[in-house]
Amino acid sequence: MANINLASEGGVVNSAPQSDAHEFDATKTRTQGQLVLRRFLRHRLAMVSFGVFVFLVLFAFVGPLIWTYDFEDVSSKAYQPMSGTHPLGTTQVGKDMLALLMRGTGYSLQIALIVAALATAIGVIFGALAGYLRGFVDTALMRLVDLLLIIPQIAVAAIVVKGFSGSWYVVALVLAAFAWMQIARITRGETLSLSQREFIEAARACGATTPRIIFKHLVPNMIGSITVNATLAIATAVLTEAALSFLGLGVQPPDTSLGVIVLENYGQFLNRPWLFWGPFIVLVSLSLAVNFIGDGLRDAFDPRQTKVRA
């Protein structure tokens, strides 16, 4: 497959080939990683989305350093309209909406990234172990997944947040506890088919240990779907966290998040619409951008699956 890619798009043929025999030397060889990166960089929608994502990260983490108001600053007057000093107005308690949004985006991003990282790590390890060892480990894993599937995440998250604390990292942990199953299933499926292949058999014949086979032979061959699903897990986590916080069952004050901001301000939809549309636009662009990046990554890792989208 790598050769086909080289010929079709990766290979830049030297403009002055001396002879047929030297043509291969003139072709620049690229590693799999370089090919993927190249395809991703050429995916226009994904690159635009990546730009949006970077902008949101800067908005969340660099923005508060530059912006004049602090998100906890309640010295401004309540419910001011949009103006030069308060581009997005102020809230009921006189907090500057822009500063609040920066802080909320930051927490939402932090939660989503931690959830995705944890879910991917747990999912890949469990999935690969189950798919590679089969038998008892596999059965145990699938039963655990069955178990987690019948308990509504929203209820567990609510109980945990009520019982322990509504800090952002507790919310992240609960979300991760339910997010790893999807990745574990995909990893397991791929491991099942990969471990039938000769190179795994060869590695085992050479005496490679199970961890070595999993991390050196299986995982690098699944890196595409793992990356794509990790990205999609970020998008899901952003929306789930927002939904939980909106119900008042997620992140609790003094921490804030995009969901909390919507919860506190959606009552003003008709009178002061900007207080709703501000967090709404940030939330939707964040989740759209991450979804499109995931799509671009999928196309980059597996050009055969390229889907045309509007």
Partner: protein, 332 residues
């Protein structure tokens, strides 16, 4: 088939038992239902001790779980122990809430399924047409949209629509704050009018959320089938386009969507919880939020047990439907 169903039901019993035990331990460790009692004036340490003993909180968690389980299975779901509330029985509270949610969800889901499947088939048949791009981008946008934002937007435009109606000298038609208590009365036409007014907005909100997934799924599976060999053979034999699409492709393309429809229950439930909260319906969502806020373990356990059982049943239905629609899948 019957043997398969019985076997699946038997397998789900231990899963439900372990699941309910896990939930029980979680609820038991998450908080003390008597915590607020301490802050009340005139409550002595002896009162708390007495309350603890009457609720069985002095016993170990295994014993309490066992008592709860045997009571639950014999139909005694216990009473709410939230302070400041009349001791509502759990069973009617949960079943009432389930009925409210069910009425809302079933209609919305059926509408979403019909609409999603139609749009998906059209988009697949006219692939890369303007309609396809429009449907695809709408579905993608709805996917990335937080459910509660959809509900809030729908609700507020409903209020504005009402204001317009009122300025025209008509009654406010759309209900945005929960169904009227005591049902509907009046002539048949009036009942229909009030009924639609009450259900329209939450149904639209719920429908928009599910619709995206169904249309995307139907489009993908329809495309896959339209490009398969047996469809080409059918075309080669000179069968008309509409017959190929409806008799040969459509029926096969329905299989994955039917499975998604039954498996989607958990997602639909959380969507319904949010929609209910925004529109002020006293369904499963409100019950969960209130029981968590007041920390009411018997109510929470009843809630969890009912939803977990329903999810197990819906998963079973999904597998059975799959087996009926696709005879190649052998259940057993």
């Amino acid at each position: 088939m019957i043997r398969y169903i019985i076997r699946r039901l038997l397998i789900s019993i231990p899963i439900l038992l372990i699941g309910s035990f896990a939930c029980y331990v979680l609820v038991a460790t998450a908080g003390n239902p008597l915590a607020e009692m301490r802050f009340r004036p005139g409550v002595t340490e002896a009162d708390i001790k007495a309350a603890e003993i009457s609720l069985g909180l002095d016993k170990p968690v295994f014993v309490r779980y066992w008592n709860w389980l045997t009571d639950f299975l014999s139909g005694d779901w216990g009473q709410s122990i939230a302070l400041g509330q009349a001791k509502t029985a759990v069973f009617p509270a949960v079943t009432d809430a389930l009925w409210t949610t069910g009425r809302l969800v079933i209609g919305a889901e059926l509408l979403a399924l019909t609409l999603g499947v139609s749009v998906g088939v059209l988009a697949a048949v006219r692939q890369y047409s303007i309609f396809d791009y429009l449907a695809t981008s709408t579905a993608f946008l709805m996917f990335s949209m937080p459910i509660f934002c959809v509900a809030v937007i729908v609700k507020n435009y409903g209020i504005q629509f009402n204001n317009v109606l009122e300025s025209m000298g008509l009654d406010r038609w759309l209900t945005t704050a929960g169904p009227r208590p005591g049902g509907f009365s009046g002539s048949f036409g009036e009942v229909i009018f009030k009924y639609t007014g009450t259900f329209l907005l939450p149904t639209i909100a719920l429908m928009l959320i599910s619709f995206a997934a169904y249309s995307r799924f139907e489009r993908a599976s329809m495309l896959e089938i339209l490009h398969s060999d047996f469809v080409r053979t059918a075309r080669a034999k000179g069968i008309s386009q509409s017959r190929v699409i409806f008799r040969h492709a459509f029926r096969n393309a329905l299989i994955p969507v039917a499975t998604l429809f039954s498996l989607n229950f958990g997602a639909v439930l959380s969507g319904a919880i949010i929609t209910e909260t925004v529109f002020g319906w006293a369904g499963m969502g409100t019950l969960l939020v209130n029981s968590v806020r007041q920390f009411d373990p018997p109510m929470l356990m009843g809630w969890l047990a009912v939803t977990a059982t329903l999810i197990v049943l819906f998963n079973l239905v999904a597998d059975v439907v799959y087996g009926i629609l696709d005879p190649r899948i052998r259940l057993g």
